[in-house]
């Protein structure tokens, strides 16, 4: 079993964990399986020699995000019957997942080597013989940078930062930052209405010191002369 076999095995674990996430009644178990999936992805990154990315993946996803999930789920009281009702709509995904598991097991049994992309392109050309010259079309239109090669070439973190994140692919980095900013601002904007309403409620009860101080004796107290009948 080489590297590809290992990766396939880990992917199989990922799919089983996904099924458990969907089916488990207790949300804590769902999150624990989510953490297991993060660990599987990190181990895939380790098998392809990207140890820095794997460590960062664990640090961010498991160490920060999943802890917050776990915190929130532990604090709130979730009705189990409700969960079981909502679970039914996931049954179709379960079916797809089982098919995927069977497919992966089949791949592991039949051929250990994942086919490289040129082979796949050739095979597509063989399957659809009516379209002429499909090989050429695919090769000319699909242009992509091989991120794996890029990372392997620059395994040093300094090179990775200066060549990839702040160099050739800086535009994607900036875009990701903008998306994050939009997410944060959006959440604040959505909840702002609630905050404003609360503030309005509080305003009625609030003591307005300024107007209290500015009240004038001459204006507030008036003398009326009442005629006696």
């Amino acid at each position: 079993m080489g590297t590809t076999g290992l990766i396939l095995l880990v992917l199989g674990i990922v799919i089983i964990c996904t099924l458990v996430i969907l089916r488990s009644v207790n949300p804590i178990y769902s999150i624990l399986n989510l953490i297991l999936i993060y660990g599987c992805y990190a181990s895939i990154l380790l098998t392809v020699e990207m140890e820095f990315l794997a460590c960062i993946y664990i640090l961010v996803n498991v160490g920060a995000i999943a802890v917050l999930f776990l915190f929130i789920v532990m604090m709130i009281n979730i009705n189990i019957v409700e969960i079981q009702e909502t679970m039914r709509k996931y049954n179709i995904y379960m079916f797809v997942g089982i098919i995927a598991v069977i497919g992966i097991i089949g791949i592991i049994i039949t051929n250990n080597e994942l086919r490289i992309k040129e082979d796949v392109i050739k095979e597509i050309g063989l399957i659809i013989p009516t379209v002429n010259n499909i090989e050429g079309i695919l090769k000319t239109t699909i242009q992509y940078t091989d991120m794996y090669e890029l990372f392997i070439e620059t395994s040093d973190i300094r090179n990775m930062g200066s060549n990839v994140i702040y160099g050739t692919h800086s535009i994607w980095f900036i875009m990701a930052c903008i998306i994050l900013l939009i997410g944060m601002v959006g959440v604040i904007y959505i909840t702002e209405d609630l905050i404003i309403e609360k503030r309005k409620l509080n305003e009625r009860r609030r003591q307005d010191i300024n107007s209290q101080v500015l009240r004038d004796y001459q204006e507030t107290i008036k003398n009326y002369s009442i005629k006696k009948n």
Binding site: E51, C55, L59
Partner: protein, 314 residues
């Protein structure tokens, strides 16, 4: 294949046995130092001047009955101490004991330590939840919140060390300190890192999770026997690791001369115990205030200044 497995097993066995002995004598060291500071004798009955006390304690813990609460989530209840103990062992795999004697010399060792210690929270929070007891749950939540919030400040200080050294490899950081120890240019950083390390390992004055007066014993109330022993071992292994890490990051490493290196580690451990014997406990809101509103801005300031100094020198 067989040979690599055997070799790895032997290597890890050496690290684990050494660590366990270190943990045992760290507990004895703590009790003796505390006793000396409070004008007592400390343990002095078992063995010569009480040297065999930790062995007796360990034996007592293992021989006790394992109690699993009937309302507990049994699987997670069993897994939680194992996670804590395993993580505290895994952390030691990247720390070099000698010039060539390191279990795994990986390039991004510091990042690995940060990542693994962030997983260590799970053992505590799961133990608190799985016990299904209010004391344990509150202790677990408190502990997790504390560890997560102080990890940020510690991470920023370590980041400024990385910028100073220009590498994330632990051995290279040690080599960079040949001319000057990092404690001199980064003295405020060292103080902050020391405080954060105290909070990270749930030591006094930040031992809120184990506040005996309020929460009985925190997240490990329901544990007895081996489960409790595993928590105890993991906690002390983390304390020793933190003192060794502080010695590596700020005091020129532990490899160069073995006696001096050991002295550095033990003196850091001594200062951990010293703080415990001296300072009273924080209140919980004071703890959170200190973490987020005092340490974090200062750590950010130190990081920015360290980065700008490095840039201006270049």
């Amino acid at each position: 294949m067989l040979r690599t497995i055997l070799e790895g097993g032997l290597k890890s066995l050496i690290v684990i046995i050494g660590l366990l002995i270190a943990v045992a004598f760290a507990t004895l060291f703590e009790r003796k130092v505390m006793a000396a500071m409070q004008k007592r004798r400390g343990p002095n009955v078992v063995g010569i001047v009480g040297l065999l006390q930790p062995l007796a304690d360990g034996l007592k813990l293992v021989l006790k009955e394992t109690i699993i609460p009937i309302v507990a989530d049994k699987v997670i209840y069993a897994i939680a101490p194992i996670i804590t103990f395993t993580i505290s062992l895994v952390l030691w795999s990247v720390i070099a004991i000698g010039v060539n004697s390191v279990f795994a010399s990986i390039n991004s060792g510091v990042i690995f330590i940060l990542a693994m210690s962030s997983i260590g929270v799970y053992g505590i929070i799961l133990a608190g939840w799985a016990s299904n007891s209010k004391y344990a749950f509150l202790g677990g939540l408190r502990s997790a919140a504390q560890m997560v919030s102080y990890e940020v400040a510690l991470g920023l200080i370590i980041l400024s060390i990385i910028t100073y050294a220009g590498t994330v490899n632990i051995q290279e950081i040690t080599e960079n300190q040949e001319k000057i120890w990092f404690v001199i240019p980064l003295l405020p950083g060292f103080l902050l890192a020391f405080i954060s390390a105290l909070a990270e390992t749930n030591r006094p004055p930040f031992d809120l999770p184990e506040a005996e007066a309020e929460l009985v014993s925190g997240y490990n109330v329901e544990y007895s026997s081996t489960g409790f022993a595993l928590f105890f071992l993991g906690e002390y292994a983390n304390i020793i690791l933190m003192s060794v890490l502080l010695a590596i990051f700020f005091f020129g490493g532990i490899i160069k001369s073995k006696v001096l290196g050991a002295l550095k580690g033990v003196s850091m451990l001594f200062s951990f115990i010293w703080v415990r014997a001296t300072l009273p406990r924080f209140r919980y809101d004071q703890l959170m205030y200190l973490g987020w509103k005092v340490l974090l801005p200062f750590a950010l300031l130190i990081y920015v200044s360290a980065a700008s100094i490095v840039l201006s020198i270049k």
